[in-house]
Symmetry: C2
Subunit: 197 residues, 2 copies
């Protein structure tokens, strides 16, 4: 057993530890005991910070959702042709995935029965619908292909983007790596693998 | 408690029940007791069919892998330009995902420490590498864009394709639905969302 250490956690640093444990064990499979062990402080010290593990989940997925919804308020997402706004949102979503990797990973894996999990899934669906609406508008404006049903196209687009949490690992190149990823996502999503002649 | 029923299972029908439970509870979270309850037969009846849950996992992911590797031996995957072979493999992978949905879902979720899980992950990596090699060949032949690193492109391609297991639900239209999906995957992966002018 690890000796308890002095509790010097801030809300953010405790959250970072909790998210790591949630992603490793799954939210359901994580007990306060696991969190206490991972943080190296007693359960009662954790209760000094939060009411319980659901509050940690709420803060963690809230942070991911804030990052994602924040994109939709940026000027690149609100002005211009729908196709350009969609491209902007796609690129920025890739950025946020990388910047908030553990938090978005947790958000994407949430499927469960607590109120917080249902809330997170609902908010995620809302984000997807906002993007689907943008995609539909770009089809209507004649910039995106009409031969793929917009909901299906949105799902495949998010399938590509969200897969990033499964395999992305920082390689030490920092923003250069993140930029390369966002470029690749935008190129493939909008123009595909094939050289257009 | 459910009353045990007479054991009329075939290897395939027992496997189908087990895969459903594995996908719902996770392989680690599934005990022989859970399998017994879901199948409605005693644990000893299950042991009459298989040595244990790892054998069921092995058969299940084996079935998914057989479907996927089978594609690579089909003539569409072995003859012609690399770009056409890659397109063929992409389309057929979408088909196999739909045809073998619960088995491929299980395969894609496997990450663990038993020998069978490591074997499945290794075989999956091997499949990905075969496809990555095809993609690289198509870039070398000048048919696919060279400005996205082939390994990254392969990951994003599989990210899009594999996401299908997360949201695809048969809607009763049978092969029409499956064909629509495979068309959409091929169009988006190769030519992107944008109308090429």
């Amino acid at each position: 057993m690890t000796m308890p250490k002095r509790d010097t956690y801030t809300p953010d640093s405790l959250l970072a530890v909790a998210v790591e444990v949630f992603n490793e064990r799954g939210y359901d499979g994580t007990s306060m005991e696991h969190l206490s062990q991972a943080a190296g402080i007693s359960k009662s010290s954790i209760y000094h910070h939060v009411r319980g593990k659901e509050e940690l989940l709420h803060r963690a997925v809230g942070r991911a959702l804030e990052g994602l919804f924040g994109i939709l308020d940026e000027s690149g997402a609100t002005t211009g042709r729908a196709v350009d706004r969609l491209e902007y949102v796609t690129r920025r979503t890739a950025d946020v995935l990388v910047e908030e990797l553990p938090y978005v990973t947790l958000l994407l894996r949430v499927r469960g029965n607590t109120g917080t999990e249902r809330w997170a899934m609902e908010r995620r669906r809302e984000f997807d619908q906002r993007v689907a609406a943008l995609l539909k508008a770009a089809v209507a404006e004649g910039d995106l292909r009409a031969d793929v049903e917009p909901r299906l196209a949105t799902r495949l687009l998010f399938g590509m983007i969200n897969s990033v949490v499964e395999w992305y690992r920082p390689d030490g190149r920092g923003t250069a790596q993140a930029e390369q990823l966002a470029d690749a996502v935008v190129r493939l999503a909008f123009d595909g693998l094939r050289i257009q002649r």
